[in-house]
C-alpha cells in the first residue's frame, strides 16, 4: 500500500465520525429533511392558493 493523501484521510475520517456515522449523519439527515420539507410544502401551498385565487377572480 502506498502512502495515502492526507487530505483523503481527513475526508474519510469526517464521514466515518469515529464509527458513529449512522447516528450522527442519520440525525443531520432527518433534521435537514424535515426542515426542508416544511419550506417546500409552504411554497407549493402558496402556489396552489395563488392559482385558485387567480381562477376565482377570472370567474367574476
Amino acid at each position: 500500500m502506498g502512502a495515502r493523501d492526507p487530505g483523503e484521510i481527513v475526508v474519510q475520517e469526517f464521514f466515518h465520525m469515529d464509527g458513529y456515522a449512522f447516528y450522527v449523519w442519520g440525525s443531520y439527515a432527518i433534521v435537514s429533511a424535515v426542515l426542508l420539507l416544511n419550506v417546500i410544502s409552504i411554497r407549493l401551498q402558496r402556489r396552489k392558493i395563488l392559482r385558485e385565487l387567480a381562477e376565482l377572480s377570472e370567474e367574476e
Binding site: 447516528y23 450522527v24 442519520g26 440525525s27 424535515v34 419550506v39 409552504i42 392558493i49 395563488l50
Partner: protein, 243 residues
C-alpha cells in the same frame, strides 16, 4: 390594547410580516450555514461522547424550540380567546404543525444519540416521556382544530387544549431535577459553573438562533398562506392580487 387589533388585523399583518419574512429567511440561511460548519467541522469531538456530541447541536435546539413553539401557540390561544383576533386563531394551528415537527426531531435525534451512548433508543424516563406527551398535545390541538367545520369554532376549542397543556412545559423543563432521569440535567443554563467549553457552546448557540429565525420565518409564511386562502373574498386580498 389598541396594538393587538392593529398588528392582528389580517391586512396589516400580511403587510408587515412580508418584510420580516424576507429578513428572517436570509438570517436563517446565514446562521444555518455558519452553524453547520461550526457543528460539523470546527468543534472538537467530546472526550466521553466522541463524535456523537455533534448530535447535540441539532438535538438541543430542536428540544428548546419544541417548548418555545408551545408557549407561542398557547399565547396565541389566549389572544384568540380574549380578543377574538383571527390572525391569532390561525397562529394557533400553524404553530401546532411547526411545534410537532420540532418535537419529532428532538425525539428522533435523542434516540439516535441514546442508542450508542445509553445502549437503548428509548427509555421511559421523565424527560423523554414528558416530551412524548408534548407531541401528543400538538397532535391533539391539530385534531381538534380540524374537527370543526367552522375554523373559528375549531380554533376556540383547540386554544383551550393549548392553554391547559402549558402545564407540561415546566414539567419537561424540571423533569431532570424532580425525577431521577437517565437524561442528563441542565448543562447550558448553569451559568455559575458552565460545564461545556466555549468550542461547544458556540455552535449550539448559532444553531439555536438559526432554529429561532427559521421558526418565525416558517410561522409567518404559513400564516400568510392561510390568511390569503381564508380572506379570499375580501378587498385587501383582491388588491394584492391585482398588483
Amino acid at each position: 390594547m389598541h396594538f393587538i387589533h392593529k398588528y392582528g388585523s389580517p391586512n396589516y399583518f400580511y403587510q408587515w410580516s412580508g418584510t420580516w419574512l424576507k429578513i428572517l429567511s436570509a438570517l436563517t440561511l446565514i446562521l444555518m450555514a455558519l452553524g453547520l460548519y461550526w457543528a460539523l467541522i470546527i468543534s472538537p469531538p467530546d472526550y466521553q461522547q466522541s463524535e456523537t456530541v455533534r448530535i447535540m447541536y441539532i438535538h438541543v435546539p430542536s428540544a428548546w424550540m419544541s417548548m418555545f413553539t408551545y408557549v407561542v401557540m398557547a399565547s396565541a390561544g389566549v389572544v384568540a380567546m380574549i380578543w377574538r383576533i383571527k390572525v391569532a386563531e390561525i397562529v394557533v394551528a400553524q404553530s401546532a404543525i411547526i411545534g410537532a415537527s420540532f418535537t419529532l426531531l428532538a425525539l428522533v435525534t435523542g434516540m439516535l444519540w441514546g442508542k450508542p451512548m445509553w445502549g437503548a433508543y428509548w427509555v421511559w424516563d421523565a424527560r423523554l416521556t414528558s416530551e412524548l406527551v408534548l407531541l401528543f398535545l400538538y397532535v391533539g390541538v391539530l385534531a381538534i382544530y380540524s374537527a370543526y367545520e367552522d375554523p373559528r369554532t375549531g380554533a376556540k376549542a383547540a386554544s383551550i387544549l393549548a392553554i391547559v397543556g402549558v402545564i407540561n412545559i415546566p414539567i419537561i423543563h424540571y423533569s431532570v431535577e424532580w425525577w431521577n432521569t437517565l437524561h442528563q440535567g441542565p448543562t447550558v443554563t448553569k451559568f455559575d459553573s458552565p460545564s461545556a467549553p466555549l468550542s461547544m457552546l458556540t455552535p449550539l448557540f448559532i444553531m439555536f438562533f438559526a432554529f429561532k429565525t427559521y421558526f418565525f420565518a416558517l410561522l409567518f409564511a404559513r400564516t400568510r398562506n392561510a390568511l390569503l386562502s381564508r380572506e379570499r373574498h375580501t378587498s385587501w386580498v383582491q388588491e394584492i392580487l391585482e398588483k
